[in-house]
């Protein structure tokens, strides 16, 4: 590059045409991108496009973190009349966390003045596949949400899955049951929580000898009192029912046991609401590699 005087171009016309073409393309792109030179940021464009072509929104049924239907604008007199709404998902590592922290700070500020009683905070999850009631509860707990001020809600989970999904669900439940049985049969553990699940197990009978059979009781929540006694007195060696499909559907079906002895079917302990299943399971160090904790 030198500062020499400009050499005469071979064709002024060609340069002019190329320049005009480039200018025309840039102007057309600019006109298109900026919505007719009316918006320069994506938010400006969104605010212009939405009124121009309003989206068709459908009613969405929401559940709160406590599992009850969310009616923010219901008729209850105690509910806030003004809602500040954010949309988030509980697994979001960045921006939603910032929103949660901002809401936490806002909650403290609102609590400091009784005149703010009519203002509520509402965090709506847009990840219904993952954000169930438990996930929303964890989110609310993590951000110290007060129930009467800050509600976390998500799309309601379907109560029943389609019939075509039932065979897949049964196969999945069988696999899950086999895995649980293997994990809970370790001789070093007699009771505790089945790893990676909400099931609790208790192994009665059977020692850490190869070939002996332990009775393993799996419950969705720990049985109490007489129910525990009934559950343990039942000598059902067969694997019976297993609840807990991912979509919350309650169903039960028989699953053949891999253990040598077979019999009837387990029952849910009365009064506990939990589901129980029994299995006789050979125990021994070689059954699985689950480590003792």
């Amino acid at each position: 590059m030198t500062g020499r005087p400009m050499a005469p171009p071979t064709s002024w016309l060609g340069t002019a045409i190329a320049s005009c073409t480039m200018l025309g393309i840039a102007a057309a792109a600019l006109w298109s991108v900026t919505f007719g030179l009316r918006g320069w940021t994506a938010e400006d464009i969104r605010r212009l496009r939405v009124p121009a072509d309003p989206p068709q929104l459908h009613a969405l049924r929401l559940d709160t973190a406590t599992g009850i239907p969310l009616v923010p604008w219901g008729s209850q007199g105690t509910q806030p009349r003004i809602w500040l709404v954010t949309f988030m998902y509980t697994r979001c590592p960045t921006f939603c966390t910032v929103l949660g922290i901002e809401f936490e700070r806002l909650q403290r500020m609102l609590d400091s003045d009784p005149r703010n009683a009519g203002i509520g905070l509402l965090s709506i999850s847009f990840d219904p596949a993952h954000d169930d009631v438990q996930a929303l509860q964890r989110y609310a707990t993590a951000h110290h949400a007060e129930q009467d001020r800050w509600i976390s809600g998500g799309a309601r989970q379907p109560r029943r899955s389609r019939p075509s999904q039932a065979p897949n669900r049964r196969r999945r439940d069988r696999r899950r049951l086999r895995r649980l049985r293997a994990q809970c049969s370790h001789p070093c553990r007699t009771r505790g929580r089945a790893p990676g699940t909400d099931f609790r197990f208790q192994r009665t009978g059977g020692r850490a000898r190869m070939g002996t059979h332990a009775r393993i009781t799996l419950t969705t929540r720990p049985p109490v009192g007489a129910a525990r006694g009934r559950a343990h007195r039942r000598g059902d060696p067969d694997i019976a029912a297993l609840a807990g499909s991912g979509d919350g559907a309650a169903h039960a079906h028989r699953i053949p046991a891999a253990a040598p002895r077979r019999a009837g079917r387990g029952q849910s302990p009365a009064g506990t609401g939990g589901r129980t299943h029994h299995a006789r399971q050979p125990v021994g160090p070689s059954r699985d590699s689950h480590s003792c904790r």
Binding site: G3, R4, P5, L30, E43, D44
Partner: protein, 115 residues
């Protein structure tokens, strides 16, 4: 080059380049083409025309950098406010650097021409 740089400093165009494949392709193609044409056009241009285009690019870039730093809200959807501040500082620094480099090149050339 000025046209390309000006277009891709618009926040909505930056967002488009991240959200849309064709827009991203257009961005890279346009910068590549502009970069290829820049030495040829710079060599052919007289000092006064160079000063016009360089000066135009410098004040435009510095102004956009200052706007990025002083904007009250996040301008791009895909870049957070911290990134926006960094981009603003970078644009101002780039503008000053280019201006300085061009002066270092242009003053001896101007003296050569006037002798």
């Amino acid at each position: 080059m000025s046209l390309t740089a000006a277009y891709w400093m618009i926040p909505v165009a930056l967002d488009q380049a991240l959200l849309s494949g064709p827009a991203a392709a257009a961005k890279y193609t346009s910068f590549l083409a502009a970069g290829m044409l820049l030495p040829v056009s710079f060599r052919a241009a007289p000092l006064a025309m160079q000063a016009f285009f360089v000066g135009n690019w410098v004040w435009m870039t510095a102004t956009v950098g200052l706007l990025y730093q002083n904007a009250p809200q996040q301008l791009c959807v895909n870049y957070l406010i911290g990134t926006q501040l960094n981009a603003g500082e970078g644009l101002v620094a780039a503008a000053l650097s280019i201006a300085g480099l061009w002066c270092v090149y242009a003053v001896p050339a101007y003296l050569d021409v006037t002798r």
